[in-house]
Amino acid sequence: MNRTGFTTTIPLEILLAAERIPVDLNNLFITGGRSLELIEAAEAQGFPRNICGWIKGIYGAVIEGGILELVAVTEGDCSNTRALMEVLSLHGITTIPFAYPHDRNPRALREEIERMMAHFAVGWDEVNRASDSLESVRRKIAEIDRLTWDDGLVSGAENHYFQVASSDMNGSTKNFEAEVDGFLAEIAGRTPYRDSIRLAYVGVPPIIDDLYPFLESHGARVVFNETQRQFSMPYGIPDLVERYRAYTYPYDIFYRLADIKQELKKRQVNGVIHYVQSFCFRQIEDMVVRQQLSLPILTLEGDKPGPLDARTKIRIESFLELLGEQQ
């Protein structure tokens, strides 16, 4: 089977219907063990220093990982993806653009989905079958999420991992579902966490690798991973177009905030970490997030992969001290 990469979450159902092995290029880049080297290599090729690390990392992961075909999300995510697509086409890589309509127009989204289906030569029957085959694992991941905030049995890092991995099911739905089953069995006997501070993690997944353990070593646990949860399509909506309209990440910040506000309340969150990637347009949206949420917010910025730096650690410690005092 051919591997097909993608730059951010796209209708996975179509790739599975076309019998492709899905590869979330972000996951490939960040878990490959050579993420920093990939960025440096991309900069040596001419990628500017003041461009998002994920774009450079994806470039490196595609070249080094031998990906020959990818779906590039050109609207609803970062516009740098367009230039990335152009540069990759010079390497002979097939790029398929996919655009989420900014206004969430159902007809426009359906056309976009059908364009992608036409490229992969699959019809609605195959796509709906693939969709059904994903439902069971998606329900289990939603349960892992519930066990995080409701029962306190899952760490913030575990919650992050299972949800973020669901964008491509780690390349094999069957193996991933077995991993999920194993995890659910393992945590059944756990003692619930007794953390005093409940945090929300809002924004794109972190490029920093030790954020969650650092928070937990200070008595705080992430009980809501906003975009990671979105990647897992937890809505239980049978219609594919409606499912990808419910998906908040590619649409405007106010639509995302409606979901965030609802979850913050439901999960009894004490404070919010808003993570932004250096040089990302979402850094601008931080102003809106700060204005719209009433809970204390700490904005963290990450640039390159690696552990938390000393000053970010001090900022987190101060934030947690503040939250601790407020309780």
Binding site: A310, R311, I314, R315, E325
Partner: protein, 253 residues
Amino acid sequence: MRIGIDLGSRKVKFALVRNEKVARLESFDTLSFYKRFGRMDGDDLTFDLAGTGFFSASELAAAAIVATGYGRNTLNLKGVRIVSEIRAHVAGALFQTGLRDFTLLDMGGQDTKVALVRNGRLQDFVMNDKCAASSGRYLENMAAILEVDLSELSSHWDEPVRLDATCGIFGESELIGQILRGHPVARLCAGVNQTLVKRVIPMLKRFPSDTIVLTGGVALDRALVKLLEIEGFSVIVPDSPQHNGAIGCAVMG
């Protein structure tokens, strides 16, 4: 009796606090301090505090010693507690001003820190990152190009010549270009001071307070204070801005 040490990038500062009063302040050039009194013990930095002559043997024996600054992560002095710079600076500003709610602007040799303090506690802070333009070291470089001392540089704020380079090194050649255009030195000095204000305003606006407490060596730049006031900020410079971190360490002891 408590001793605070702030190992800065340009100066090492010392404060002795006795009965909740600052009893003595000292400072030393960082490089010569490390050369004369520092040594590596394995991977740890250690230094001969008694050899500095700043403190008597009995003071060193009796005092609680707290240190912060650049060298803090490698520092290993018996009986010395290490604290983070931001906490030391906030503690120093609280002690020196008696205020409980303010925005701290600390401008040192390399670092610019902006901290929001509410009800006497640090709420959040930002720091310059990757770049140290608009630091004390930048001011020293620009003064050297203009062939003036720091006191002269800090006495001009009227009609600043516009300087736009985002890099402290390119800023030097931009300044040379403006010298060639025949601008008077006073206006060029004002321009250099204005660049500091432009750099820190976005950080200050992120944490708005009625009062800015300005500390660090750059707080001695009177023109900076004037220019911040022109921008509408109410600025307080404590008595010993350069020793604020060392005083903060001492009061945390």
